[in-house]
Symmetry: C2
Subunit: 278 residues, 2 copies
């Protein structure tokens, strides 16, 4: 059976409040890849009903970012979700999500000003606002998010806790291309050369894990070696940091369970990635 | 039967998600007066179950404001609500509402920087954040707010609409003392002299209505006469403005349905009031 397509907020609210059993929700900006589909499968394993939203949220893009060029393919997305027998696909429009008199913002302090927040100062405010709206419309029991956007995952966990939302956030493993590049809709922007060089991000992360396994713990030294490797592949580093997995605060010495987070430009395309140190 | 007292967030969430029928919610900061009780009665008329919260929300007070001195009398409040046979009284504590790692804020642009927002720049952020939390905990069908805090009512209507909360906000008429002073927990701060002089606020509002009824429409002239009257009674005016009832934007000529909003200090006590022009 095909997924039920819902475009209006009122209809989505009416449908979700009548749904019996638990609701698992996967918020996406569409142009779905294996990473998204793994979230859908996790949602199906855990919940009686699965709702996937497809919405390229304008408020999380700065004016100079790639909102207009962000890849979209609604027909293909619907086809993929139909194949997985997702129950509902919610694809609202800008006019309904951000009417002309829209004025309300949800923001999270501290966690949103570091890492990606430094180069994208209004990004997380857009994310937390749209996710609050989507949660209020869909009222999911569980929300499934990829660990690729690790900072986003941390911010949204903080937000739901602080605002007493009862939706449980479930982080799911990052999915990689066969050569190790983290799956992302933005990989589409890469030229053939950039695509090859972009593998250096994952290689640098593996190098860090290797160094740690071999007894190296000093963050400065490890980051320095990662930078060299990525620079050799023409990547322009936005940041590389080693952080505590819950506070996102920088640490000085690696330990099991800490996380290395990375943002690198290849040309104009900004890619992020991370690993947990084991 | 006495009201059920609930202190823990988890218990309140569990109780409210099991309640059958509609929930009417009245958020208060306690020290209840007839104004609050009129909201409770409105809630009882409209809803199957009524929940009243009593919580002096620290985040809506600036450091130099009256948080510590804000009047409290929980026993008396409970007695009054018992008499009205309110179903549930929710009185959470600071530690649970704002744990040490709390970081999330809900804010509304524009509507919150004018009028009371000018002298209380962080006030409404505190209000919108706590109300979002309370709505998420209680999940009311209706929330009852007094028109005395007219700006607050407008801000919260905007917020619930923008965030797609399904709680309907119902504004209820301001309740006055027999001599016309708007009921407020802060009236307790007034000395006998200040209390007498404070009636000038309502007198000034009635004067404005009289002037309009007699054909005067120019805001500047009407405000000027109101100021004179209040100043004669030793009131220090924070603001007097005539605004559109939905946008809160200042207007130049009065019309039926516009609103005159006032904030005046008597000593250190800041009182607010408003009327709709008829």
């Amino acid at each position: 059976m095909n997924s039920v397509l819902i475009r209006s907020v009122a209809e989505m609210q009416m449908v979700s409040c009548k749904i019996k059993g638990t609701i698992g929700f996967v918020p996406t900006m569409g142009f779905l890849h294996e990473g998204h589909l793994s979230l859908v499968k996790a949602a199906q394993n855990r919940s009686d009903n699965v709702i996937v939203s497809i919405y390229v949220n304008p408020s999380q893009f700065a004016p100079d970012e790639d909102l207009d060029n962000y890849p979209r393919d609604l027909d293909k997305d619907i086809e993929l979700l139909n194949e997985l027998q997702v129950d509902y696909i919610f694809f609202p429009n800008d006019k309904e999500m951000y009417p002309a008199d829209f004025k309300t913002w949800v923001s999270v302090d501290k966690l949103t000003t570091m890492l990606c927040g430094k180069s994208r100062p209004t990004h997380f405010r857009g994310v937390t606002t749209i996710v609050t709206k989507l949660i209020n419309i869909i009222r999911p029991d569980f929300m499934f998010l990829g660990e690729k956007d690790f900072q986003q995952l941390t911010v949204l966990k903080q937000m739901t806790k602080d605002l007493n939302l009862t939706t449980e956030i479930i982080g799911c493993p990052l999915v990689r291309e066969p050569d190790g590049l983290a799956m992302s809709s933005r990989n589409k922007y890469l030229t053939i050369d950039q695509r090859k060089n972009a593998i250096s991000i994952y290689k640098a992360l593996l190098l860090a894990q290797d160094l740690f396994t071999n007894g190296h713990k000093t963050v400065d030294k490890i980051i320095s070696k990662m930078k060299t490797l990525i620079n050799q592949h023409k990547g322009t580093i936005d940041y590389i940091d080693v952080v505590d997995s819950s506070t996102l605060e920088s640490i000085e010495n690696l330990y099991v369970g800490c996380r290395i987070v990375v943002a690198v430009y290849f040309g104009k395309t900004r890619l992020i990635d991370n690993i947990e140190i084991k």
